[in-house]
């Protein structure tokens, strides 16, 4: 990542999620109420490319990752991997191959490792289950994995238990475990938000290095729009279970189109800028049986009548940059 960085040519598509939706029924047996956790979300993950998914809590970021990892089935949508819709070709549960190829990193490095097992055990298990190496090669492979994620000397770390490691080291173990099965896609769900500030960059730089060395395709999920820009080639902004804007990361932050993206950016603490007020108030609307129209309409400073009735389709506002906002419909005056 050296400045000025020309956009790398997009690598081959590794995984494509199309129009994913997830609804959870709530209330009693005969209740028809539903939580619309995710509506019509599509992402294309390419090798050597990072898509950052940004949004507040409840915006559907983690649900997107969980659906792609097939930890739960979507209500609607398709997931293309290796040329076929895996929801159709392996409908009841994901195949061992898919589970190996699509790995997930979780937010909490304290909860995702088992306290009663050594690091060696954590890395050995996926190697055995996925039959990547056998017998005496395992130890070498574990050492190699630990060295790859910067835990040197590897033997010192292999024999340790999770509680003997710092948060950053534990998150590196989580990456090593994901790499053990040689994935093509890594879904990283807030991998740095529980780490101390001074070690966050180290983990992000490790992600970057693995992307370049192994051509990994990343989905990076975060509420921190600055880190989304730092690691992401592309940013997708989510609000109330929907994608509201997407584009190349530097361009999207420099010229945000959606009023929600603008609000999010205005709220980021920035000592360099003069103090600005936030431009909208209120909170994310309830996701239970949401009304029609744009989910941001209730908070939007530029709301129009049409916003409460229909959600606009994606409108192109720049190269690979689109927004779902009526302000950008042909004929509408861009006022914000």
């Amino acid at each position: 990542m050296t400045a000025p960085a020309p956009a790398p040519p997009p690598g081959p598509v590794a995984l494509e999620a199309k129009s994913l939706s997830k609804r959870f029924p709530i209330g009693g047996l005969f209740s028809k109420r539903e939580v619309h956790a995710l509506t019509d979300v599509s992402v294309t993950l390419r090798r050597g490319h990072v898509v950052s998914l940004v949004g507040e809590s409840g915006s559907g970021k983690s649900t997107t990752a969980r659906l792609i990892a097939r930890l739960m089935p979507p209500t609607a949508g398709e997931i293309f991997y290796g040329g076929k819709d895996v929801l159709k070709s392996e409908p009841s549960h994901a195949s061992l191959a898919y589970r190996g190829d699509v790995q997930m990193i979780f937010q909490d490095p304290f909860g995702s490792l088992n306290g009663s097992h050594t690091i060696q055990h954590h890395l050995e298990r996926p190697l055995r289950i996925h039959k990547k190496v056998r017998g005496e090669e395992i130890k070498d492979r574990v050492d190699e994995l630990l060295a790859t994620v910067g835990l040197n000397p590897p033997r010192d770390f292999a024999d340790k238990y999770p509680h003997q490691l710092s948060g950053g080291q534990r998150q590196r173990v989580a990456f090593a475990r994901a790499l053990a099965v040689e994935p093509t896609v890594v879904l990283a769900d807030e991998p740095i938000s529980m780490l101390d500030v001074s070690i966050r960059m180290g983990v992000l730089n490790l992600m970057e290095q693995l992307k370049e060395e192994r051509g990994l395709a990343y989905l990076y999920i975060t509420h921190d729009i600055a880190s989304a820009r730092y690691i992401g080639d592309e940013i997708v902004v989510m609000y109330a279970g929907r994608m509201v804007e997407s584009g190349p990361s530097v361009e999207l932050i420099a010229e945000p189109a959606h009023p929600y993206t603008k609000l999010l950016l205005s709220a980021v603490p920035n000592p360099k800028a003069a103090k600005r007020g936030v431009t909208a108030r209120g909170e994310i609307p309830s996701l239970i049986d949401p009304p029609p129209g744009c989910p941001f309409a209730a908070r939007c400073p530029a709301v129009m009548d049409v916003c409460r009735k229909v959600i606009p389709g994606p409108i192109v506002v720049g190269p690979n940059h689109w927004v779902r906002c009526h302000l950008y419909s042909p004929g509408a005056a861009v006022a914000v």
Binding site: D196, S198, M201, G202, N205, A226, A267, P269, N270, R281
Partner: protein, 329 residues
């Protein structure tokens, strides 16, 4: 009794030492910390987990319980020795003189009491007012933090996280204490809510004139809202000074590293390195300067001698061997 001298600090913490007594030996969580807060001032306390910042807040409020013990130093509030207060005096002192908002405070509300009753309780525990007077005051307080007064009758579960955190701030303001301690008050909230709440606190502070000890790991937020900032590392203050000096020209290599850990939202993407290594194990902290194992400018003597705070620029102190008299980094 109003002290007219402008220089008299509201809170004076001197050489504070707090230890956690563990089976493996004492952990010096706070090791000789001194600072002052002036009336109406916001002092920001930055540092990572385990640096001792929350322990300081608990010591000032006298909320420490074994195995944590105050091993030395003094805490003076408006000239009173806080460490010498009896249990009875503490009951009156807390909340009336210093109130506190915790990170998880929104979960500390009583789930079976309405918001109104909880504010009324706080008021009537300290002031001889009728229930109706207290309710009126509670409605005012909710309005001040941006909640409609009708929500007095709401139970905590009926409010969002942001509203609950506002309600806790309303309770903290109930007795108009001269000092409010806020320990990661918005860390559990989304940025938009964080911005709204911090703006509201600033408005209230300007109107009511209270001081704030503001604790967070988020340096950008701290710079935006503090007058002065103290940076903690491994139980010590390593740098303290005016917020914009520390932001504009951080002196300690640790502060510089922290500044280099936040990606920017503008300009070309540049690689940030953060700080190599991990925060120290406080059971066995490094010798000499505690930052030396992670410091890019370490020299052999730094591993032996512990640096002390020295004033490098007016009001800007740093504890680092690179800044001895006449020596610039």
């Amino acid at each position: 009794m109003v002290d007219e001298r402008p220089a008299a600090p509201l809170l004076r913490v001197a050489d504070l030492r707090v230890e956690y007594l563990t089976g493996a030996g004492p952990v010096k969580a706070v090791d000789g910390v001194s600072f002052e807060i002036a009336p109406g001032e916001v002092l920001g306390l930055a540092g990572e987990s385990g640096s001792g910042k929350s322990t300081i807040a608990h010591a000032v409020m006298r909320l420490l319980h074994p195995p944590a013990v105050i091993a030395g130093g003094s805490v003076e509030f408006q000239g009173r020795d806080v460490l010498a207060l009896s249990d009875r005096e503490l009951e009156e002192f807390r909340w009336d003189q210093i109130s506190m908002v915790f990170q998880s405070a929104m979960n500390s509300l009583n789930p079976v009491m309405t918001i109104g009753d909880q504010i009324v309780d706080a008021i009537r525990a300290h002031r001889p007012v009728s229930k109706n007077q207290a309710l009126e005051r509670a409605a005012e307080l909710l309005k001040a933090v941006g909640i409609e007064p009708e929500r007095l009758r709401a139970y905590p579960h009926q409010l969002s996280g942001g509203m609950r955190q506002r309600a806790v701030i309303a309770i903290a303001l109930a007795l108009e204490p001269p000092l409010m301690i806020m320990d990661e008050p918005t860390t559990a909230l989304d940025v938009v809510m964080q911005k709204e709440i911090m703006q509201q606190i600033e408005e209230l502070k300007n109107r009511l004139g209270f001081s704030i000890l503001f604790i967070t790991h988020d340096l950008s937020l701290l710079v935006e809202f503090s007058d002065r900032i103290a940076v903690m590392y491994a139980g010590e203050i390593v740098e303290i000074g005016p917020a914009h000096d520390i932001f504009g020209e951080p002196l300690h290599p640790y502060t510089r590293g922290l500044m280099n850990s936040f990606p920017s939202l503008d300009g070309a993407k540049t690689r940030l390195t953060g700080i190599p290594g991990s925060p120290p194990n406080m059971l066995n902290p490094p010798s000499g300067c505690r930052f030396h194992p992670r410091c890019p400018s370490v020299l052999p003597m730094h591993t032996q001698v512990r640096p002390t705070l020295r004033e490098v620029k007016p009001g800007h102190f740093v504890a680092c061997h690179l800044y001895r008299e006449g020596v610039e980094a």
